[in-house]
Amino acid sequence: MRIPFWTAAAILVALLVQSAVSQAAPGYARILDPFLLVLVYCGLSGGETHGMLAGAAAGWVQDVHFGGTVMGLSGLTKILVGFAVGVGAARFLLAGPGARLLVLLVATVVDAVLFEQLAAIFDVRAYELSTGGLATRATLNAVIGVLLFEVVDRRRRRRELRS
């Protein structure tokens, strides 16, 4: 019961952050994807099922609030990314900051490429990210994600030690 609650809370926070950034600096919100950070963390810490479900929920929230006229593209993309991260976390040691940085970089790139390919398949007219734009998005997500994961992990460890 606690895991779904915290996942939902994290998605809500991601929505608030995305909305706040889009209000404070319109245009710049596109280079950050807080929803992706949520599902990557869920995948890393909870495995493929958790990553996949978190990806579905986060993707749909993103679709509804920021997506185009066709719903579910972000949902589908993020399910795949969440699952892949979960599988990767089960097979490799991805607990260190370096590994997580790499996971976030790859996840952002895969998310964008998958989204653009799916948009093309479903004939959704969407803008494409340039290589520079994608690199900026991936770097920003990776750096912020690693820092955020570290903070969350420390809090979790402290709580576990206390209990």
């Binding site: 995305q18 909305s19 950034v21 889009s22 209000q23 319109p26 245009g27 919100a29 596109r30 280079i31 993103q62 509804v64 609030h65 920021f66 997506g67 185009g68 006229t69 972000s74 964008a112 989204f115 653009e116 948009a119 959704v124 007219r125 969407a126 803008y127 494409e128 990210l129 340039s130 520079g132 734009g133 900026t136 998005r137």
Partner: protein
């Protein structure tokens, strides 16, 4: 022995008397400069000490005054800086209020001349995904906002409602690649369709593509582009923008870029048209 003691006493007494006299006499002798000999002697002997002490005291006093003065200046500086900051904030606030008031005045003016019912809405979120261009507004079904309702600003057409909830709605901007508005060139009455320009998400362009305009059509740079009403979503006659460039194109159609008249970089308050579009017929006064 007694005699020797008396002699010493007497010499002592003599010396004392002489000294006393010297003092008394010297008190009455004007040694020049208005000072007695004693005074001069004392001045000469003690004034260096006095000067020294005075210098030390003066330095200390100056230092102390400077310290307090500096503290005062520092304090005053801090106070003035605070005041400047406060005044700057006040100025910003006043400028913001003036800008807000101007924006609302424009909207009110537009609302007054628009022959359709509109509802004002605030933008609560801008586009959060790089692939689309849309904003979320704070009005939904409860305020009478319906799906496909046209959304306009004081300067021109902004987009249409593509998703609506009870208290919020998502507006697809004209800049979105998936958008489409039936338009005509006001001067030559040439018709076409305006949509978001093909390009990279982060290119920052705000131009619109004017598509399906025949290669032989009469279109020149600067022509005003207005809604044609043929899409049955946007009322006829709303300003979309101005033609920025006209190219020959590779096929049957011209390549035309339109600069939108709506300012997409600072969307704050918008107006959502209530009621079906086919009942609307806007006048040229809107412009």
């Amino acid at each position: 022995m007694a005699r020797a003691l008396d002699a010493r006493k007497s010499r002592f007494l003599l010396g004392a008397l002489v000294l006393a006299h010297l003092v008394v006499v010297s008190q009455q002798v004007d040694a020049g400069g208005g000072a007695s000999l004693l005074e001069r002697v004392l001045f000469t002997a003690l004034s260096p000490f006095q000067r020294g002490v005075a210098a030390v005291v003066r330095e200390a006093s100056d230092g102390w005054s400077a310290y307090f003065g500096l503290r005062g200046v520092h304090e005053e500086n801090r106070r003035l800086q605070e005041k400047v900051r406060f005044l700057e904030l006040l100025l910003q606030e006043r400028q913001q209020q003036a800008s807000e008031s101007e924006r609302l005045r424009e909207l009110l003016e537009l609302k007054r001349i628009l022959p359709v019912e509109t509802v004002a809405a605030e933008v609560i979120a801008h586009d959060g995904l790089p692939w689309f261009r849309n904003v979320t507004i704070d009005k939904g079904l409860r305020a009478g906002v319906i799906l496909d309702a046209p959304v306009i600003s004081a300067t021109g057409v902004v987009g249409r409602v593509v998703a609506v909830g009870p208290v919020a709605a998502k507006v697809q901007l004209l800049l979105d690649r998936d958008s489409g508005v039936g338009v005509r060139i006001e001067r030559s009455r040439t018709i076409g369709v305006v949509s978001g320009k093909v390009g990279f998400a982060d290119s920052g362009t705000t131009d619109l593509d004017l598509k399906y305009v025949a290669a032989f059509a009469d279109v020149v740079v600067g022509d005003v582009v207005v809604t044609s009403g043929t899409d049955r979503i946007f009322p006829k006659g709303l300003v979309v923008g101005r033609v920025r460039s006209v190219g020959a194109g590779s096929g049957l159609f011209k390549e035309i870029l339109v600069s939108p008249s709506a300012r997409f970089d600072g969307l704050e308050t918008l107006m959502v048209v209530r009621g079906p579009a086919d009942e609307l017929e806007l006048t040229e006064a809107i412009r």
